[in-house]
């Protein structure tokens, strides 16, 4: 242990989180490039495949995530104002909305599975190349996104406990701020996934 470890630098931590967010966005960026190329090559198949998705579910999940982004942002204001109880409630709401999102996703995926549509399935292979690619991308991108929701939930759960134990306070809240940044990043990815899979038909 070097004597440097106690050094506290919130701005450094925040820049670090932003840089990490860039790598996450570019991780999805690779998939967006694949999506763009295959949509360009298979416009008709993508059109019909998108109609198979449950649009209501997509809209609901979008609303859930947008609200959760607002609540996590507000929880930071609550911490700044030393309103600990309010902050705990707001973070908890965020966590609940995140879990609800995952439940919906589970139902949605389960529904597709029930109809025999999953990577490598017989039915999908019968449908044709464009559909294989569309659903391949659908499962990969929403799956990776769901994984990021889980990571975001973990970070925010840690933040919740730290607020509870008074280790995130109005003078030291960079962990919650960074957790919030991560959560908003997950939201932004969904903001693009939603129209690309559910709306553009």
């Amino acid at each position: 242990m070097t004597p440097t470890e106690s050094h506290r630098d919130d701005v450094g931590a925040k820049i670090g989180m932003w840089l990490f967010i860039f790598t996450e966005l570019l991780l999805f960026g690779g998939l967006f490039i694949v999506y763009a190329v295959y949509r360009y090559k298979n416009p008709v198949a993508f059109h019909f495949a998108a109609e198979e998705l449950n649009r209501g579910m997509g809209i609901l999940n979008t609303i859930l995530l947008l609200i959760s982004s607002a609540t996590v942002a507000m929880s930071l204001t609550a911490v700044q104002l030393n309103e600990r109880g309010k902050s705990l409630i707001l973070i908890s709401i965020t966590l609940m909305l995140g879990v609800l999102f995952l439940v919906n996703k589970y139902i949605e995926w389960g529904d597709k599975w029930g109809h025999g549509i999953y990577p490598g399935s017989e039915k999908l292979l019968e449908l044709g190349h464009g559909e294989v690619l569309f659903f391949g991308l659908y499962f990969a991108m929403t799956g990776l996104h769901a994984l990021h929701i889980v990571i975001g939930l973990l970070i925010l759960t840690i933040a919740l406990f730290r607020v509870k134990r008074n280790r995130i306070t109005s003078s030291d809240y960079v962990l919650l701020e960074n957790g919030g940044l991560y959560w908003h990043m997950v939201d932004i990815v969904w903001i693009f996934l939603f129209p690309l899979f559910y709306l553009i038909v």
Partner: protein, 544 residues
């Protein structure tokens, strides 16, 4: 920090922290110890990778099957590539010298996130073990080459998954190191060290770190797609499912061309650090070098298509990628001219680090020029996938990174270990290595032009003569390498004590004791001058 003065003063090698013995190294968050951990791990992998290379060269010493079967050869060039690229030259200089010297060069006590730094090393080791496990687990070793091209990478019956996943994990380590360095450079420069007073090695690490950050995620997701392709038959790159294998090549090279700059920029940084110290002159065109570093990092992102000229791209894309490839050569050439101008009329001290740096310039120029031959569309079609390409990138990657690494280790060794090496043996090793290197790779240019393809264990009889020369060169080079490494290993344990500043260099790492104390600086220095002000300050020559 007066209460901690004791721990600040004891040097990082002998310091006793929370953990004893080897655990004090494996769990140390001290950037210097982490740098040494990387040094030992990377050198071990390098020796293994070089040995594989030697075996391949022995196979090629005569036509037909000499010492191995075709499939063994396929496994060897794959493992050689994965080891050398992902385990050595990509992390290489930033992980070893960046970790050890970035904080020292900018006047900081450590990197911005010391624990994350240790985690990066652990992830590196994990990724390396997973990648290497592909050799021992399951069926045959991977045989795709380090590029994992689709669709073969998910069709081959060999043990691809661990290799691909290992490369994915190693990407994380690379990203976290880059992230750490960017924040370190933004936040922890000593007072008075403005951006334009920062030494050039940190500058090159900064440019590199941005590439690590912005390019690595693309290979990460691409490798995951290959994994999904193999395990779930998801269809991304499989033509029988509608996927496009050429898209895999795009994604792969969107990372892997910038990765060439992850390798070469820090190498250039070391050279820029070294030449002024041994020419006793300020670096020529400091700002031009900084700008060219950033330009290389940026333009280098958009030249990936030059690896795909024969893959059936559109004519416009071929033209654009060829044009940009020529464009990115300009900032590299700017650096070479700056280095030469730095040497011009300098009082050059020909010592081991300088010999490595000077030979770097030589091989780097040959590598760069042959790169232009490959970047031009017409000649590329003729030379694509021939031994010429292998010669080119060994001149750039091995010649660039390897020589700069050697220059760096001979330059900083006294600081890292507090001991001097025997310069007679070091110079002998260099001479043998350098001659062996040229004998090994130069004939491959000619072989390639005559049409000998790469990645084959066999060749037509007419290529025999040059292959014999090349294989003998490999032996000579490895003999030189052995002398260099044994000399250093002996010096690390029994060398004479090194002075604080054996080369009379001016950057900050030479102002602290050798080896440096745990906290690097007793008081963080305040910077008032340019890093290479050899004209103002003439330190007495301590090199005798």
């Amino acid at each position: 920090m007066s209460s901690e003065n004791h721990s600040c003063q004891s040097n990082y090698l002998t310091f006793k922290g929370k953990y004893a013995g080897v655990w004090g190294w494996l769990f140390s968050t001290d950037h210097k110890r982490i740098g040494i951990l990387y040094l030992y791990s990377i050198l071990s992998f390098f020796i293994a990778g070089a040995f594989l290379g030697l075996l391949m060269k022995l196979e090629l010493i005569a036509p037909g099957s000499t010492i191995m079967r075709a499939q063994t050869y396929n496994g060897f060039f794959t493992l050689h590539g994965i080891t050398m690229i992902f385990l050595i030259v990509i992390p290489g200089i930033p992980a070893v010298f960046g970790n050890f010297f970035l904080p020292l060069l900018i006047g900081a006590r450590d990197v911005a996130f010391p624990r994350l730094n240790l985690l990066s090393w652990w992830i590196y080791i994990l990724g390396a073990l997973v990648a290497l496990s592909s050799q021992f687990l399951g069926s045959d070793p991977p045989d795709t080459g380090w590029t994992f091209y689709a669709p073969y990478s998910f069709r081959t019956g060999t043990n691809m998954l661990p290799a691909v996943l290992g490369a994915f994990i190693l990407g994380f380590s690379s990203i976290l190191t880059g992230l750490n360095f960017i924040v370190t450079i933004h936040r922890l420069r000593a007072p008075g060290m403005t951006w334009l007073r920062m030494p050039l090695f940190p500058w090159s690490l900064y440019g590199t770190a941005w590439i690590q950050l912005l390019a690595t995620p693309i290979i990460g997701i691409t490798l995951l797609m290959v994994v999904a392709e193999r395990t779930l038959k998801i269809g991304f790159f499989d033509p029988t499912l509608g996927g496009d294998p050429v898209l895999y090549q795009h994604l792969f090279w969107i990372y892997s061309h910038p990765a060439v700059y992850i390798m070469i920029l820090p190498a250039m940084g070391i050279i820029s650090e070294l030449l002024p110290a041994f020419a006793r002159k300020p670096i020529f065109g400091y700002k031009a070098i900084v700008v060219s570093t950033l330009l290389i990092a940026f333009i280098g992102y958009f030249v990936w298509g030059h690896h795909m000229f024969t893959a059936g791209m559109s004519g416009t894309a071929q033209f654009a990628f060829s044009f940009l490839t020529f464009l990115v050569a300009i900032p590299s050439a700017v650096k070479v001219f700056n280095w030469l101008a730095t040497l011009y009329k300098g009082s050059i001290h020909i010592q081991t680090p300088f010999l490595w740096a000077a030979s770097f310039l030589f091989v780097f120029m040959i590598g760069g020029m042959s790169g232009l031959v490959l970047g031009a569309l017409a000649t590329n079609v003729h030379l694509h996938d021939t031994a010429f390409v292998v010669a080119h990138f060994h001149f750039i990657v091995f010649g660039g990174v390897g020589y700069a690494f050697m220059a760096g280790i001979h330059y900083w060794f006294p600081k890292m270990f507090g001991r001097m090496y025997d310069s007679g043996w070091a110079n002998t090793g260099w001479g043998l290595f350098f001659s062996g290197f040229l004998t090994l790779y130069f004939p491959m240019f000619i072989l390639g032009m005559k049409g000998m393809p790469r990645r084959y264990f066999d060749y037509l009889p007419e290529f025999h003569g040059l292959n014999v020369i090349s294989s003998l060169g490999a032996m000579l080079m490895l003999f030189g390498l052995a002398i260099v490494l044994i000399n250093l290993m002996r010096a690390a344990r029994r060398g004479a004590a090194a002075p604080d500043n054996p080369w009379g260099a001016l950057t900050l790492e030479w102002t602290v004791p050798s080896p440096p104390p745990v906290a690097n600086f007793i008081d963080i220095p305040t910077i008032v001058t340019h890093p290479y002000d050899y004209s103002i300050l003439q330190p007495k020559d301590l090199s005798k």
